[in-house]
Structure formats: structure tokens, C-alpha cells
């Protein structure tokens, strides 16, 4: 399962930050997930509970919040931006293929809520 590996990697990073800040626990994690990041939020949520309860030091019962980020592309020919998921590689305004992704590929840990500091 793709998302499980990602959850492990998030846990590793968040546990590290909690430790560095001398926190006693992490109560919530907020992620920003790009629409074309390859991560399916529902699958993340599905394995999150099990993973934080079994594989982390500081995150038992930690809540997950996901902010979806819409994917947007930019057309170099007509200099307009458009919705990537609807139109793909081809600009809907001028049909040019000289387009690139502006946002939506990345997934970030936005913030975490900790106790004990």
C-alpha cells in the first residue's frame, strides 16, 4: 500500500520534531496534499490510526487533518493558468502544449499540535 510508506515517513519526521522540542505528545498533524501528488487522502486516513498507535513514540491517538491543494497549470503561450485535473497538459484557452504545473505536485507537513511545551 502506497500511503503506508508515506505515513511512516511522516511519523519519523514528526517524532523527530517532537523530540527536538521536548514535547510530551503530538495531538494533531495538519498536511497539505497536492491534487496530483500521487497521494490519496482517504488511503492516508485509513492507515493513519493504526500507524500512529503502533509505530510512533509521541503520536498515539494523534489526529490527522488534511488540506487539499488544487492542481494548477500555467500556459506559456497565452500566459493564463487553468485547472490541471480537468484539462491535463493542453491549455483549454489556446490549445498550446507549452504548459507546466504551477502547484499541486507536493505534499507538506503544515503544522503539528503538541503538548508539554
Amino acid at each position: 500500500m502506497h500511503e503506508l510508506g508515506i505515513v511512516f515517513s511522516i511519523i519519523k519526521q514528526v517524532d523527530g520534531i517532537a523530540k527536538k522540542n521536548n514535547a510530551s505528545s503530538v495531538k494533531e498533524v495538519t498536511l497539505e496534499i497536492g491534487e496530483v501528488s500521487g497521494i490519496v487522502p482517504k488511503y492516508l486516513t485509513d492507515c493513519w490510526k493504526w500507524a500512529v498507535d503502533n509505530r510512533s513514540e509521541y503520536m498515539k491517538g494523534c489526529e490527522l487533518k488534511i488540506i487539499p491543494i488544487k492542481a494548477k497549470s500555467f500556459c506559456e503561450s497565452c500566459e493564463q493558468s487553468y485547472d490541471t485535473v480537468t484539462y491535463g497538459k493542453i491549455c483549454p484557452y489556446c490549445k498550446s502544449e507549452k504548459t507546466y504545473l504551477l502547484v499541486g505536485k507536493d505534499a507538506t507537513i503544515k503544522n503539528i499540535g503538541v503538548t508539554g511545551i
Binding site: 500500500m1 515517513s9 507536493d106 503544515k110 503539528i112
Partner: protein
């Protein structure tokens, strides 16, 4: 009720893997170990090709294999029985790809007194391409029955691979597989890719592929 304090992080989830991967490559470079990441769809012929390749390469190189495809040790046993080289099974828990952290854990279970470690990645053309394992080079196997249009459908996989082996060329006629067409599609995606037609079943093309890997290892140790 304890007070919850918010810490702003703003860190990319994928960056963490890229940092792990770069660190692993540095460590491999220092130890003069070449790690080759081998990817393909399930059944394209990774294990069969590995056995033929290793029997060629083991004459002058010390080799170990890490099996990640999938959670049973059949492939590790096949490699050991077919070549005599050490093969360990990584327990990926049904995961669809490996990241640098998992790769590093696997390497820590091997004694790194070898020249070449080959990682048989999980059989999947999608997400293994998205996660840098920390390998020195990526190689993929496209097998003839999968069709010559695969570089169009899985562009990222072909972009990240420096070596593409086209396996099962004994079946080309049966599957209307056009070697020139597939080469064209691959080059469109990745100018750098070197393409090797092989038949892992009878050994055709294996010498050329083995020599390519020898050259890459030499380059890595410079």
C-alpha cells in the same frame, strides 16, 4: 486538559526521502559499493534476468541481492540457488514501493564488503519511479508481452531509468512488438537511457547488459 501548542513546520513530505536517498548515495560512494535499483511490472523477468546477469558478473565482482518483491522469500531462494550469491528478503509488509529509508535498513543487514548490490524492487511501474531509493543507477525491464506502448503510459518510470532492458524478445512476433518503435518512445521520454534487448530465458543480450553494468561500476568508483 493539556494545552496544545501549534508548531509550524512547512516541510515537504517527499523532500525527506530525497535527503535520505542522497545520504545513502554518499555512504555508498565512500564504501565503493554500487547499488543498482531494478524495477519492472510483476512477471517482466526481474528474477530470471538477475540470475543470468549475476552468473556473468560474479566472475569478477562480489555481489549481493536484496529482494523486495513481495513479502515471500521465493525470489531470494531462487537467486541463491541459481547463482550462489547472498540474497536477503526485505519485509516490506505488502508495500507497493521502497523508499531510501527501507533500502538503507536492508543494506544495514548486509555486510557491505561487496562491489555490487542489486535491489529487486516491488513489481510496479508507477510509484517505485517516484521514490528515490538512494541507488547509484536505476534500471528497468520492459517485457515484450506488456506491449511497445508502455513508455507512453508510464513516462516517469522511463525518465528515471538509465538502463532499459527489453526482455522476452523471443516472443516479439507473437505480440506484434516493434523494437524500433519502443526505442523511439523511450528516447522521447529520456534521451540518456541506454536500451538493451535481451532474452533472459536463453541468455541473448546478457553479455552486453553485464558489460554496461561493469562500466557503470567502474565509473562509480572513480
Amino acid at each position: 486538559m493539556q494545552e496544545v501548542k501549534v508548531i509550524e513546520i512547512k516541510k515537504s513530505i517527499f523532500n525527506a526521502n530525497e535527503i535520505d536517498a542522497d545520504n545513502l548515495r554518499k555512504e555508498l560512494k565512500e564504501k565503493k559499493v554500487f547499488l543498482l535499483n531494478l524495477m519492472s511490472s510483476p512477471g517482466a523477468g526481474k528474477t530470471t534476468t538477475l540470475i543470468k546477469l549475476i552468473n556473468n558478473l560474479k566472475k569478477d565482482l562480489k555481489i549481493a541481492v536484496m529482494e523486495a518483491d513481495i513479502d515471500s522469500d521465493v525470489d531470494a531462494i531462487k537467486i541463491f540457488e541459481g547463482t550462489g550469491v547472498k540474497a536477503i528478503q526485505l519485509h516490506t509488509g505488502g508495500m507497493c514501493h521502497l523508499d531510501a529509508e527501507m533500502t538503507k535498513q536492508g543494506l544495514d543487514n548486509l555486510e557491505l564488503d561487496v562491489d555490487l548490490v542489486i535491489l529487486e524492487n516491488v513489481g510496479n511501474l508507477v510509484c517505485p519511479a517516484e521514490f528515490d531509493t538512494g541507488a547509484c543507477k536505476n534500471m528497468m525491464i520492459l517485457s515484450v508481452p506488456e506491449g511497445d506502448d508502455k513508455p507512453l503510459k508510464y513516462p516517469l518510470m522511463f525518465q528515471v531509468c538509465d538502463i532499459v532492458a527489453i526482455n522476452k524478445i523471443d516472443c516479439m512476433e507473437m505480440f506484434d512488438f516493434d523494437l524500433d518503435r519502443v526505442k523511439g518512445y523511450i528516447k522521447q521520454r529520456n534521451e540518456r537511457a541506454e536500451i538493451y534487448p535481451i532474452c533472459a530465458k536463453d541468455g541473448r543480450g546478457i553479455d552486453e547488459l553485464a558489460n554496461k553494468i561493469r562500466r557503470e561500476i567502474k565509473e562509480w568508483r572513480k
